[in-house]
């Protein structure tokens, strides 16, 4: 008990989520064995020749010598079993153990986890792509009518910012994205809760949503245009429809996956219905919800691209569509890069939320 108390001293001072601790755990977990073995192996390296003092009984034939590592191992066992037999000055059992370990170092057990993270590894792939693009443009392999050079794109960004088109279109797109995402997530979550918490809700809601899931959101576009016209309503509705499906599916899954033993526990501690939802159901479904949110963000960008290229008069998609009619590949690339950056940023934001909100979990990904 005393041990526990002392060990705990640091714990309460960590006031934030455990995120900051994660890398530590990961590293500690990544290679404890390797570190130890290497450490002892080098410490004991060459200066300790196999001591022959205590082995005079063993005949030194060549065949025997080949079996030395086995012999050492056997010797180790006997030394361990009967330490009083040890000749004074002979290596201690632990040293022998380390030496045999060094010999048997290669065939250590293969690790199954993915291992250590490569620092900055996430940037490697994009950087290589960029390099290939630049090289292609510089050598003329890439025709600017097919794909503008990276530096042209950079200057085009400058021009677009100078005349205000970039900011305006970006603001419009971001607004549509935000409305669609917020509404879609809210509706998807509520539907999932209703259908996850009541059998009636499930009976009524789940079927239609599964049917809707089978129909791609974008296939509904003609109907939505007929019903809602080509204004903002149609655009946001399309995004909402694309967003609510993944949110619903994964949140519902998460709800259904909550261990029923927790419900039993809640009953024994007299948890009320509201408290049960707040303390057990919602946190239990949170991992599913956040996974759904990641898919939802992707889906929202996808829908946005499509609705902005159809009958639109503003937004990044419109800017790109207009550029197509004038053959301005540089502007198209700017649009693509924008979509990419925005997609990455929003996905990163969700992942950050995920990591903070789920810091109680220990997974392979760390």
């Amino acid at each position: 008990m005393t041990a526990n108390v002392t060990r705990a001293v640091g714990a309460p001072t960590v006031s934030g989520p455990v995120v900051t601790e994660d890398p530590v755990h990961q590293d500690a977990g990544a290679s404890p064995g390797v570190g130890v073995v290497q450490g002892t192996a080098t410490a004991l390296g060459p200066p300790v020749p196999p001591s022959t003092a205590d082995r005079s009984a063993s005949p030194g034939t060549a065949g025997e010598r080949e079996n030395r590592s086995l012999w050492t191992t056997l010797r180790l066992w006997t030394t361990r079993a009967a330490p009083r037999d040890r000749v004074p000055g002979a290596p201690s059992p632990s040293r022998l153990a380390a030496r045999t370990d060094r010999k048997a170092f290669k065939p250590r057990r293969p690790r199954l986890g993915p291992g250590r993270r490569i620092p900055g590894g996430a940037l490697l792939g994009p950087f290589l792509l960029l390099a290939a693009w630049a090289a292609g443009s510089a050598t003329g392999v890439l025709d600017p009518r097919v794909l503008s050079a990276p530096w042209t794109v950079v200057t085009t960004v400058g021009d677009l910012i100078a005349n205000g088109r970039l900011q305006d279109n970006l603001a419009t797109s971001a607004e549509r994205f935000a409305y669609g995402l917020v509404l879609g997530v809210a509706i998807g979550t509520v539907l999932a809760l209703v259908s996850g918490l009541s059998r009636w809700g499930e009976a009524v809601l789940d079927g239609p949503i599964q049917i809707k899931r089978a129909v791609p959101s974008l296939a509904l576009l003609p109907l939505l245009i007929l019903w809602l016209g080509i204004g903002e309503g149609m655009k946001i509705t399309t995004i909402v429809l694309g967003v609510l499906i993944p949110v619903y599916i994964h949140t519902h899954n998460g709800l259904r996956g909550i261990d029923s033993r927790y419900a039993e526990l809640a009953e024994t501690v007299d948890l009320g219905h509201a408290a049960f939802i707040r303390r057990v159901i919602l946190p239990g479904a949170l991992p599913g919800f956040l996974l759904g949110l990641r898919f939802a963000v992707t889906s929202a960008w996808l829908s946005l691209v499509v609705v902005e290229q159809i009958n639109s008069t503003s937004g990044i998609g419109y800017m790109m569509e207009l550029a197509r009619t004038y053959g301005q590949t540089d502007v198209i690339v700017v649009g693509l890069v924008l979509y990419g950056v925005l997609g990455l940023l929003s996905d990163g934001a969700v992942r950050l939320v995920q990591r903070r909100a789920l810091s109680w979990r220990r997974t392979l990904a760390g």
Partner: protein, 250 residues
């Protein structure tokens, strides 16, 4: 005591069960079971696997909704349950797990005190994942005790722990019991555990309490003790196991 006539409660039992029947379909698990627990009494319930120990405990805890049955059950208002698994919510920190569902103005202070009692002072902000199995079960004990139960129901609470941890938990449970004095019904399949902890050991067999054995040992209770061995032999006989058979065969 919910149904006990008010007034004199001096020698009122903490638990009284009359003619309890419980069956799953055609399978009658409890059959005319009678049981009385006095206030502050520590009782262990032994029985073979599948004899209905958990069924009885769940009936007492009010968790038996998918069971058919009749009978009269009187239990106190404040009942706490300790399960075989610690059943901590992984997404709540230790203190929040202890305080789950507790409505009291000084809940936090009491939760911290309960954690200190089980030797986990300072761990209140840890996640359940960060604790060992024994520590998790100690949190579960703290969660039960912070409610100041009049009846503590424990269904093989140490069954999943290693032998060493289990022995330490025995000492802890006994100590907590001495301090809080709830009536305890401890379900176990380990005869030694029953003798080490309880003042009275019941044996559930064929749906009712088939045998009963007072444990009148004082001081250190250990398998080396002669009285301990005597009680153990009697219990094993009542369970229909020879004294040299494996005790886990119960």
């Amino acid at each position: 005591m919910a149904t006990h006539p008010g007034g004199l409660t001096v020698d009122a039992p903490a638990v009284r069960i009359r003619d309890l029947d419980r069956s799953f379909g055609e399978h009658r698990v409890l059959d005319g079971l009678n049981l009385t627990l006095h206030k502050g009494e520590f009782v262990a319930l032994l029985g073979r696997s599948g004899s209905g120990k958990s069924t009885l405990l769940r009936a007492l805890a009010g968790l038996d909704y998918d069971v058919h049955g009749t009978g009269e059950i009187n239990v106190p208002g404040k009942v706490s349950v300790v399960f075989q698994d610690s059943r901590l919510l992984p997404w709540q920190r230790i203190l929040d797990n202890v305080l789950l569902g507790l409505k009291a103005p000084d809940a936090r202070r009491r939760g911290l005190a309960a954690l200190a009692e089980v030797g986990l002072a300072g761990r209140e902000r840890a996640w359940p994942n960060e604790l060992s199995g024994g520590e998790q079960q100690r949190v579960a004990l703290a969660r039960s005790l912070v409610r100041e139960p009049e009846l503590l129901l424990a269904d093989e609470p140490f069954g999943a722990l290693d032998a060493l941890t289990r022995r330490r938990m025995h000492g802890l449970l006994r100590e907590l019991y001495r301090r809080h004095r709830p009536a305890v019904l401890l379900v176990t399949h380990d005869v030694d555990e029953a003798i080490a902890l309880a003042d009275r050991v019941l044996i559930l067999h064929k749906g009712h309490i088939a045998a009963e054995q007072a444990v009148d040992l004082d001081g250190e209770r250990g398998p080396g003790d002669r009285d301990f061995a005597r009680i153990r032999a009697r219990l094993l006989a009542a369970l229909g196991v020879g004294a040299d058979d494996d005790k886990d065969g119960t």
